[in-house]
């Protein structure tokens, strides 16, 4: 299997504080990885390192076979178009309508100018996330669950090969978060994407999870399938499965 993401010995300090101590992670094509961890353990920092938003202090970080730290601006940009990133709060552009939100990256990154093409793609992804009717609304008119779906649609529209989810179910009720988790699984199967899902929501991990990894104090301390880890003896891992 081809490795899409390869992280070896990545270290990151913010001032005196060590956030990432020694991260090793390999994601193969089409793989679904769930990263579990407490708040403030550097989960978000890790995926921001992957897209080159934060540069690690040490270690190697390869995405699609290229070293992120030494990328030129253009290759970095090209790499980013192949990765989708779902922010915790959705990060919808609130001065634009849903349609403009969807078209934003298409026009600017993929340089698609054909109105019909944009329209078709928008409709397709909105249908995929079950939001066909909101295309002319403003993000502020949408509910929390709809905003998450909308953000997912905006991530999908550029047809990414890898999707990074930063706590996709935070702030949602149990039922909605279950719906979102199932949607993520559907999309994974439909678009054949690899994904890294950062969460502390066990329901989400159970539904979406292929491989589950547990992050504590800047290191991965356990990995395996959901059921394997459920029966694990490690004290810290057990805390999640209570």
């Amino acid at each position: 299997m081809e490795n899409v993401i390869e992280i070896k010995g990545v270290k990151k300090n913010f001032g005196e504080k060590t956030v990432l101590k020694n991260i090793n992670l390999t994601v193969t094509k089409g793989e679904n990885i769930v990263v579990l961890g407490k708040s403030g353990q550097g989960k978000s920092v890790m995926i921001k390192c992957i897209v080159g938003m934060i540069l690690p202090d040490e270690g190697s970080l390869k995405v699609f076979g290229d070293e992120v730290c030494s990328m030129s601006e253009d290759t970095l940009k090209a790499m980013r178009t192949r990765i989708g990133f779902l922010f915790q709060g959705g990060a919808l552009y609130d001065s634009m309508t849903v349609r403009e939100n969807l078209a934003f990256a298409l026009q600017r990154v993929l340089k698609i100018t054909d109105e019909n093409d944009i329209e078709n793609r928008s409709k397709e992804v909105l249908e995929a996330v079950g939001l066909s009717e909101v295309i002319d609304k403003m993000p502020s008119d949408l509910s929390g669950g709809m905003r998450k779906r909308m953000a997912l649609a905006r991530t999908l529209i550029v047809k990414p090969e890898v999707i990074l989810y930063d706590e996709p179910t935070t702030g949602l009720d149990t039922i909605t978060s279950k719906e979102i988790s199932q949607l993520m699984l559907e999309i994974h199967e439909k678009y054949k994407t690899s994904s890294i899902i950062i969460t502390h929501d066990m329901q989400c991990a159970r539904i979406t999870g292929g491989r589950v990894m547990v992050l504590n104090e800047g290191e991965f301390i356990a990995e395996g399938t959901y059921t394997e880890l459920e029966n694990c003896n490690d004290e810290f891992v057990k805390l999640f499965f209570k």
Partner: protein, 249 residues
């Protein structure tokens, strides 16, 4: 977010108006500075321009018709001033026209006044030299003021001498002001007038007594009685007339 049509139009109007104001201002200022009018140049030489600056106004008959374009020093006693004037006034300026430097009001800027010149002379051409009349020099003004001050001094000295004489009672004016003989004479005149009036009054009283005596004199009694009777008859007649008038009514 896309801009809709009305926003674009509003922005367009705003920008157009703003640029319009900019252009209008440029045009107005340019017109003041003769940038867009056709102009011609005259030269005038002065010994002293007393603070004239390039850009100062040139007037012809009190109207602003141009500006001072350039001031250059030709040699140690000659300053050449180039005047840029509107072509429309060219036909009024003759070759013997005189440019003089004055100032606009007491504290205003320096200006150049161009006189029209006299009729038999031909009209000026572009680039002609006209006579420059040097402005009133401040030094000359001070010299003149000095002369005035000197004569004023003489004048006041003489005045002081005159006043001195008057005070001392010399001359007829001095005597009039300083001698009280005149007042005393006047007082005497008034007193004697009073006495005269008194004696006239006494004379009148004496006459009145004489008349009283004449009334009681028998010779004249008849005359006075007759007069009395007549008066009584008159008044009864008048009363009767009145009574009749009342009855009629």
């Amino acid at each position: 977010m896309k801009t809709n049509l009305s926003q674009k139009i509003k922005t367009g109007i705003f920008v157009a108006l703003g640029i319009g104001i900019l252009l209008i201002t440029v045009f107005i200022l340019g017109k003041q500075k003769n940038l867009f009018n056709s102009t011609f140049t005259l030269h005038a030489n002065f010994k002293n321009v007393s603070g004239l600056l390039a850009g100062n106004v040139v007037r012809f008959g009190g109207i602003n018709v141009g500006t001072v374009d350039d001031i250059t020093i030709l040699n140690d006693t000659t300053i050449q001033v180039n005047l840029k004037l509107q072509t429309s006034v060219k036909k009024f300026i003759k070759k013997d026209a005189i440019a003089s430097i004055g100032s606009d009001g007491l504290m205003g800027d320096k200006i150049i006044q161009v006189s029209p010149g006299t009729v038999p002379n031909p009209v000026v051409n572009d680039g002609d030299m006209i006579t420059g009349k040097d402005p009133l020099n401040m030094d000359q003004v001070v010299t003149k003021l000095n002369a005035i001050a000197t004569s004023a001094e003489v004048l006041t000295t003489n005045l002081a001498a005159i006043v001195q004489k008057v005070n001392n009672g010399q001359g007829s004016l001095g005597r009039l002001l300083n001698n009280d003989q005149l007042a005393r004479n006047l007082e005497g005149t008034i007193n004697s007038t009073k006495e005269t009036v008194q004696s006239i009054k006494k004379g009148a009283e004496g006459f009145s007594e004489n008349m009283q005596a004449a009334k009681s004199n028998f010779l004249l009694k008849g005359y006075f009685k007759k007069k009395e009777k007549q008066r009584i008859a008159d008044s009864t007649k008048k009363a009767n007339d009145k009574a009749q008038g009342v009855k009629k009514n």
